[in-house]
Symmetry: C2
Subunit: 372 residues, 2 copies
């Protein structure tokens, strides 16, 4: 069913290249949270992907305002979110935390820009699209009346990218997921606390580093709690994984349950995914469809390099890395996979840019009032 007010992107109707270039070279872009881990990764990805813009503003909280960030040969002053005027901006990438987005997101969108929001502020709002371009790009413009598109959680994105081809072939009915999430999910400050705390413990094994951005000291430890603890006994992170994957895959009744754990790794989130399907799995077919899915690197060897992905091995990569694919010997409708991806890239900045690229390429682009 297509609502009357929806405009769908068709993958078969890519706009012509000239129009795309015109649009993007005139595009007026802002990054809210530009001094954070995801903001910095966005700027790196702008260069790597030749993401063109006509003008850019880097914005942060008043604490970071006034800093200078060098990008594409220009020294950009960081503006204060409190006083910035978003009128005339086409596209805002926002990743300054859920509280900031809740406070500012709709106000910014009301001034004109489309906001691609990387926080938990709007993901489950009925009028906001929750988009992973490889999975539900046809919904990019769905409900865009809010002018906000939500970027899913850093764990949800690679998970649905790896599971969508499995679902299309075998019809998923249940997911049991355990995550292994890196320190960089706690931002630049979290990563620095983790690194200095690790040195502290190596110097003195009895030392207790500060918890800092995390719920407990992370160095050489595991923290089985990410984000708030809910009345259900699940954490908000675990609830996000369940709710978001259902919304993105369009499977409101999919049984998804997770345990989310912070691990003493610098970058890249990993997850052990157990999946049950309606139909019987065939190993050869299962690995073939994963191997044929764009953006996925499949590991099926035995040795260290080709046997399975590891977080240190894939940091900086823009792919979803899938290994340890196997079928449960007790239940041929169930299997496992081990998925690793760069949480700052695949799980955040890259997905946001890919949403933006879809918007720019859409024939009926809702962006760029200013560019026309």
């Amino acid at each position: 069913m297509i609502d009357a007010d929806n405009v769908y992107l068709s993958e078969n109707k890519v706009s012509n290249r000239d129009k795309l270039l015109t649009l993007s070279t005139n595009l007026k872009v802002a990054i809210v949270g530009a001094t954070g881990a995801v903001g910095k990764t966005l700027l790196e990805l702008f260069d790597e992907r030749n993401f063109d813009y006509g003008q850019i503003w880097l914005i942060a909280s008043s604490r970071s305002a006034g800093q200078i960030i060098h990008h594409r040969g220009v020294n950009h002053q960081v503006y204060d979110l409190e006083t910035f005027d978003f009128r005339g901006v086409d596209l805002v990438f926002s990743s300054a935390g859920t509280a900031t987005s809740k406070n500012w997101g709709r106000r910014i969108a009301a001034q004109g820009p489309v906001v691609i929001d990387n926080t938990n502020a709007f993901r489950m709002e009925p009028d906001v699209g929750l988009i992973v371009p490889q999975v539900n790009s046809n919904q990019v413009l769905h409900k865009l009346k809010s002018r906000i598109i939500a970027n899913p959680n850093c764990t949800t994105i690679p998970m649905v990218r790896a599971l969508q081809p499995v679902h299309q072939e075998y019809s998923l009915n249940k997911l049991v997921i355990s995550t292994y999430q890196a320190a960089s999910g706690g931002g630049i400050a979290g990563l620095e606390q983790f690194t200095s705390g690790s040195q502290l413990v190596l110097d003195n094994p009895e030392a207790i580093p500060e918890a800092g951005r995390f719920q407990a000291p992370l160095p050489f430890n595991l923290i089985p709690r990410i984000d708030a603890l809910l009345d259900s006994g699940f954490t908000l992170e675990e609830q996000k994984i369940a709710q978001e994957s259902r919304k993105i895959m369009g499977l409101p009744k999919l049984n998804v349950t997770a345990t989310a754990v912070r691990v003493p790794v610098m970058n890249c989130h990993s997850q052990a995914i157990y999946f049950e399907c309606d139909s019987r799995l065939d190993y050869s077919r299962l690995t073939t469809i994963l191997d044929d899915t764009g953006g996925i690197i499949l590991y099926r060897g035995i040795g260290e390099a080709e046997g399975y992905p590891t977080p240190r091995g894939v940091s900086g990569s823009d792919h979803v890395h899938v290994g340890r694919v196997r079928i449960d010997p007790d239940n041929d409708r169930a299997g496992w996979m081990w998925v690793v991806s760069d949480n700052l890239r695949v799980g955040a900045a890259l997905n946001a840019i890919q949403i933006a690229e879809d918007l720019i390429q859409s024939e009926s682009s809702v962006l760029c009032a200013s560019a026309y």
Copy 2:
């Protein structure tokens, strides 16, 4: 059904204290693998538990033979396994690796001692008991004609200890487990490689430490492969978890499936356990029965100390630490728990000593031909 040749320990028939003391002060004990991580932990636990013996021999491979180990005021020379005569020894704790046990275990037992073997050599042998005293102590003497008792895998032991009370109340039918296993599982050498490799990476983030005892470099990394990779696509570690838990709990048809991951933590194995039962779970009842189980510490608070166990928090403890207990909102017959325990103690040396204590306390002790 009790086989004619079985002698069962009855928990209601504890031997009288005098006999116990006489037995243990005359007990002739040997530790094979005395210079390893589990061997050293055994000696610590002998002291902490006042485990009495009349005489002790410390034994290792020829590489470590000749070393001196100080214990209870005595300097013990380490003997060479190749040339040691086990006649007259009552009880052998063996943890010198699966290959060594396969080569020596039955030969040692044939010389008279009961062997409590901590490796994978004999666990699934039909004539060998696989014992977790808190779960199946009534089988300690079952099939002891082999004179070998196997100590289960370091992950299996805390898992079945935490799940047995759940099974007794709700009848388990399915387990989906993801493990987070510490470096000390790779022995003293593995732990040292991990620690020095971690310093290498802190000094130079691009450094690639040696894999050493593990399948890949562990510092600040995750290795989703422990032990050999089988044709099924599962690792031997994952197969052990499934097979051993079925044998210990006496549930040959229980659906158990696991992903086992080595994590950059020094000591204590953790696991996220998803369990499905035949009957509906009640949170209050579930936590009460766990809380009432001896040897389990249950966490049900919210804060850092009381909210959940962490590996750094419980290292050195002789308890099974259980937290994050919750019921799946989509399926009230299913739930999760997060289990952490000291893999060298609870997962190895402590379980072996508890088996020995059961043997010593048995009225019809099969130990100590020499003590009578």
